[in-house]
């Protein structure tokens, strides 16, 4: 085990119990996640992508196999694995700032430090000017940025994103991708993201995992470095033949 290994999954399988029958959601998953990886998981809908994320988050226990986080078995959710869902699910009874401060406050950090952390991450998502608003007054994209800052504020060892931009319009989505990329580069985060958008995966991920139909298993892994080639200002990607070929290959895999 290297020092930079964050997650180690071995022979993982998850069953869902429905009335009489057992339904296998994911099977035979072997996966290691190292520091500073940006993993994007692609796969047909219902293939168990979210199940895999829920296991890593600690929301679901594995039925078979094991999952270790920095050498320790994962038992239930904790602050070291931050999660952002497709719905921002910000707490409406707290202001934007209070939402971001929630994690550090729960950790019991001193007040000054809590507010410093919140200021830092609110700045990073460019929303310091709306810190006192209740979250329901923000647009969908802004809410998702707050959800991201809320998860980042704990400085978790890994960030789990479950189709975080799925509900956003195309333009907002590109801005969000740019933001996540910048944050990932600046903070040297480790990110595990589920998406159903191949272009999004190619534009962000360093490792692209493709999952099979249910019961899901990882059928291919691609290395990608397009994330580094993206125009820093516009967030747009120069499409070349290599990109198109890879995109075609992934689409063919998902579309079987």
């Amino acid at each position: 085990m290297t020092a930079d290994r964050i997650i180690e999954i071995k022979k993982l399988a998850v069953d869902y119990q429905t009335d009489e029958t057992k339904l296998r959601a994911v099977t035979q998953i072997d996966l290691s996640i190292d520091k500073n990886d940006f993993i994007c998981v692609l796969g047909p809908s219902g293939c168990g992508k979210s199940t895999l994320l829920n296991v890593i988050a600690g929301f679901i226990p594995p039925s078979e196999g094991s999952i270790l986080m920095q050498g320790q078995p994962v038992v239930g959710p904790d602050w070291n694995r931050g999660v952002v869902f497709q719905s921002a699910s910000l707490y409406p009874w707290m202001s934007v700032r209070q939402n971001v401060e929630f994690g550090p406050k729960i950790k019991g950090l001193p007040k000054g430090q809590v507010s410093e952390i919140a200021t830092h991450f609110l700045k990073q998502i460019h929303l310091l000017d709306v810190e006192d608003l209740p979250p329901f007054q923000l647009s969908g994209g802004m809410r998702q940025r707050v959800a991201l800052a809320r998860a980042l504020a704990n400085e978790p060892a890994i960030l789990l994103l479950d189709e975080p931009f799925g509900a956003l319009d195309a333009l907002t989505r590109i801005h969000m991708q740019q933001l996540v990329r910048t944050i990932w580069k600046e903070n040297k985060n480790t990110i595990f993201m589920i998406t159903h958008d191949v272009d999004e995966a190619l534009a962000l991920g360093t490792r692209l995992l493709v999952m099979s139909k249910s019961p899901g298993s990882i059928i291919r892994e691609f290395q990608s470095d397009f994330s580094y080639a993206v125009d820093q200002k516009t967030g747009r990607l120069q499409l070349d033949e290599k990109y198109l070929a890879l995109r075609e290959e992934i689409l063919n895999l998902i579309d079987i």
Binding site: A57, P77, W79, V83, F85, Y91, W93, F102, I106, R150
Partner: protein, 257 residues
């Protein structure tokens, strides 16, 4: 905005029509004034009761004792039913203990167990307040249990992933997430307690607005009955208005869950 104004106008017109019908049928003697007293009679009686009291007890004392019973019982119900309901929803064990008891007595008509309460507690204030308390307890308790069970799963999961557990999770996430439902149930409960109040005052009391109505009915003082009913109606509306104002202040995020 315009539509809201139109609706308000409709409400006002409705009440004007009701008053007009009331006025016409009494003015032209279509029904006996013993059955429906005229608006003028009712107004005079109201002024008289406010000035001289009813049955030797000042009017504000009748109203005051009724409201005191109501608020005391509602307050007790809130401080017990909210924590018990939330805990029942959150911990299955607590639910297993409390749930069936509430489900058993909830469908009973309050008057049925009021007899037992009088037997145990006498005809004084404690049996009345207990009756109203029980009437108000069930709706709040049941709403709290279901509120906990219906919390958006993402609230709980994200909070746990941010490090919250145990007390933090309960007080910072579960309780505020349930507040909108809690408040709605409090409004329902105060309404239920208010209707039960009249029953309680009718069985064993010597004061209160409900008792006043019952006493007046024995001597067929129709105008007093009408005064009592109208006062109770308006008080009920005002109480709900007050609760709604507090609700809008505290639960500013209502509807944005």
């Amino acid at each position: 905005m315009k539509e809201g104004k139109n609706h308000r106008r409709l409400t006002i017109v409705t009440w004007l029509v009701i008053f007009l019908v009331w006025y016409v049928i009494t003015e032209f003697g279509l029904v006996s004034h013993l059955i429906i007293p005229s608006p003028k009679e009712v107004l005079n009686t109201f002024v008289d009761i406010v000035k001289n009291g009813y049955n030797g007890i000042p009017f504000w004392k009748h109203l005051g004792i009724s409201l005191l019973r109501l608020f005391l019982a509602s307050g007790l119900a809130i401080v017990t039913a909210v924590p018990l309901g939330l805990l029942s929803g959150y911990f299955k064990k607590v639910g297993a203990i409390v749930d069936s008891i509430v489900q058993f007595y909830r469908p009973l008509p309050p008057l049925a167990y009021y007899i037992v309460l009088i037997l145990w507690l006498g005809i004084g204030e404690s049996s009345k307040v207990t009756l109203l308390f029980l009437a108000a307890f069930a709706p709040i308790y049941i709403a709290c249990v279901s509120a906990v069970k219906n919390i958006q799963l993402e609230y709980l999961l994200s909070a746990q992933s941010l490090g919250a557990k145990g007390k933090d999770l309960f007080y910072r996430i579960v309780v505020p997430a349930c507040l909108p439902d809690i408040f709605t149930s409090i409004r329902t409960a105060v309404g239920v307690a208010y209707t039960t109040l009249v029953s309680a005052e009718m069985i064993a009391a010597t004061s209160g607005v409900g008792w006043m109505v019952l006493d007046a009915s024995r001597y067929l003082k129709s105008s007093v009955i009408f005064v009592g009913i109208i006062v109770m109606g308006i008080t009920g509306v005002l109480i709900d208005l007050g609760l709604r104002t507090i609700e809008n202040k505290i639960i500013f995020w209502k509807g944005y869950q």
